[in-house]
């Protein structure tokens, strides 16, 4: 029983990181149908930003902006020419991801680097270490921020309009291109935040993003297309499942179990947790 409780902060903090990564994917995937394989490298960029700055609180906004700008550049430079071809975009962004990883290797060296955690995050309340608590708080703040943006601001409502019906939104005076840019900036920025969070629980390397991107995509699949609520539930579910499966079974079986769980889940809810209904044939 104590083992179950002790594992909880680990599971929840992994869920929190997954959530931050998946939130960005959900908004870009949901709005533009774009599968961005380079999203993992925005995590890596955020982590290296924290490494360079050496100060956690300074790193958060900086990483958001750095990763966000990278996302923006990717969207303007490449992805926008590929709308309506999601599979091609997937492969294209994978090429970008390769280049970015190699760039990181050349800039920072192939070995992992350690970012020292600030002293005020050492210690904890009972079984809950402060650093994991901080990550969870960051994820909650991220979700709250996105939710407030989408529902309480004019730009956010425009974004939702574009998500629901791109052409209609365009004809009613919204410029979808500008909304896309903003969405990509915010979504990628969130990945940057996830990268900063990861520096609190482990070392940073050029391949950092690759460890999280596949799981984050699974969160998007299980959560349902472009759905905030679904992403939150799926991230928490998969994060906990992952850490408990690792704990109880062999670590090597955990991923297989998670995969099987997602496939099993799709048998019950093929549209993901939260589905949009549509009358269109395709």
């Amino acid at each position: 029983m104590t083992a179950v409780v002790n594992q909880l902060p680990i599971g929840l903090s992994i869920a929190a990181v997954l959530l931050l990564v998946a939130l960005g994917l959900t908004v870009t995937f949901g709005q533009m149908g774009v599968i961005n394989m380079a999203h993992g490298e925005f995590i890596m960029a955020g982590a290296y930003t924290a490494f360079l700055l050496g100060d956690l609180l300074l790193a958060l906004p900086a990483a958001f902006v750095v990763a966000g700008l990278m996302g923006l550049a990717l969207e303007r430079g490449a992805i926008r020419h590929f709308y309506g071809r999601p599979l091609d975009t997937l492969l294209l962004t994978w090429g970008v991801s390769l280049v970015l990883q190699q760039l990181a290797r050349d800039l920072f060296g192939a070995p992992n680097v350690q970012v020292p955690a600030p002293s005020w995050l050492s210690g904890g309340i009972g079984i809950l270490p402060y650093n994991r608590l901080f990550i969870m708080a960051l994820a909650v703040a991220g979700v709250a921020g996105i939710w407030l943006y989408l529902t309480r601001t004019r730009l956010g409502r425009r974004t939702q309009a574009v998500v629901q019906n791109r052409r209609l939104a365009a004809t009613s005076g919204i410029d979808p291109g500008r909304v896309d840019m903003l969405t990509f900036f915010i979504g990628s920025g969130l990945a940057g935040l996830a990268g900063v969070a990861l520096t609190l629980i482990g070392p940073v390397g050029p391949a950092l993003g690759t460890y999280y991107i596949v799981d984050a995509f699974l969160v998007v699949v299980a959560g349902g297309l472009g759905q905030l609520r679904g992403a939150v539930l799926a991230a928490v579910g998969l994060g906990l499942l992952n850490s408990y499966a690792e704990f109880w079974s062999d670590a090597s079986l955990a991923k297989v179990l998670v995969f099987a769980a997602v496939i099993g889940f799709l048998q019950v809810r093929p549209q993901g947790l939260v589905a949009l209904r549509s009358r269109a044939l395709t």
Binding site: G95, Q267, P270
Partner: protein, 339 residues
């Protein structure tokens, strides 16, 4: 009919006669490796190019085939005793899973049947629920990621990160011997040729037309009275079987199978190769696998880091400028000439 098959016949002659005579043994066995990848690419061309299923987990099937073959090789060398790596990792008794692989027929059958079975199960579960497009791609990628972690973790069964290597003989022939490698090359080239013709036949058949129809309008096909899930599952299974066979051929040719050869990145690299060659033509997929394999060897020999930039850049360029790949460019040139 004869005219259509002329290019194929010419390439077959070059591959089966000229290459073994002209290439030095080292190069010939590298070419055999590329041809193994070309068999996987054939399956990707079928599933993705014709059927629209972007499978990012072909490495899994390739690996299942490769591991089945490697298990047989290990057991035939140890004479049914414990393979070397098991001794090193402290395993004392041969695992039950391993025992039947001492039989070469069983091992080869499993190299194809294992991947086919996995693809049928996965395909049935996924396609029945109308999971498709990007979602399917993501799931196959997750499968590849999970597979690698599983293989690495089960050290005693699989050799862990190092995988299995140090194979010395195949059916009594010395694998280090040049003549064995030449025969292996001929076998791989012959198998590729036969599989290419068979796959092309499938693409040109009514089933091939149905597959294209499923790719372009899955829902419409449903209202013609076909079950698209079945069509896709069958195709996915065929592509998995091709990858499994390729893996089984790969092991004696290259002499190693390890998780690094079948994870997310190698799986994607093969898809890239197919895209570079031209996904909509089977010959393009084969060509792409050989060209990209050759490029990787050549460039990473000369400047290791540069290759990754080059590969990334090449990929971005192909997707942007020539989404139909080399085959698309050749097709356009030919049309320009006749016009």
């Amino acid at each position: 009919m004869i005219k259509r098959n002329l290019p194929f016949a010419a390439i077959a002659v070059i591959a089966l006669v000229a290459a073994p005579l002209l290439l030095e043994p080292f190069r010939l066995s590298l070419l055999a490796k590329y041809l193994c990848y070309a068999i996987v690419a054939l399956g990707i061309g079928l599933a993705w190019g014709q059927g629209g299923m972007l499978t990012l987990g072909q490495g899994v099937f390739f690996g299942l085939g490769g591991y089945a073959m490697a298990m047989y090789l290990k057991l035939s060398e140890s004479g049914g005793g414990l393979p070397d790596f098991m001794v090193w990792s402290g395993v004392e008794e041969l695992p039950a899973l391993w025992a039947p692989f001492a039989n070469p027929v069983f091992a080869l059958t499993m190299a194809v049947a294992g991947p086919v079975l996995l693809a049928v199960v996965l395909g049935t579960l996924v396609f029945r629920q109308r999971v498709r497009g990007a979602y399917f791609a993501i799931l196959t990628q997750a499968l590849a990621a999970a597979m690698v972690i599983l293989l690495v973790g089960q050290q005693g069964l699989t050799g862990g990160t190092n995988g299995m290597t140090n194979f010395f003989e195949l059916f009594g022939a010395d694998l280090a011997d040049d003549s064995t490698q030449r025969v292996l090359y001929l076998v791989v080239a012959g198998v590729l040729g036969v599989l290419y013709l068979a796959t092309r036949q499938l693409v040109n058949s009514r089933f091939g037309r149905l597959l294209v129809a499923v790719r372009d309008g899955e829902d419409r096909v449903r209202f013609l009275g076909y079950d698209p899930a079945l069509v896709k599952t069958v195709t996915f299974a065929v592509s998995a079987g091709l990858a499994g066979l390729a893996g089984a051929l790969f092991v004696p040719v290259v002499g190693i199978i390890s998780p690094a050869l079948l994870g997310v990145v190698p799986s994607l690299e093969l898809v890239v190769a197919v895209a570079v060659g031209g996904r909509q033509v089977l010959a393009g997929a084969v060509l792409g696998a050989v060209v990209m394999g050759y490029a990787q060897t050549t460039f990473s020999e000369q400047f290791a880091n540069g290759w990754l930039y080059l590969q990334g850049a090449l990929f971005i360029l192909v997707m942007t400028l020539a989404p139909k790949g080399i085959a698309g460019i050749l097709g356009r040139l030919r049309r320009a000439r006749t016009a």
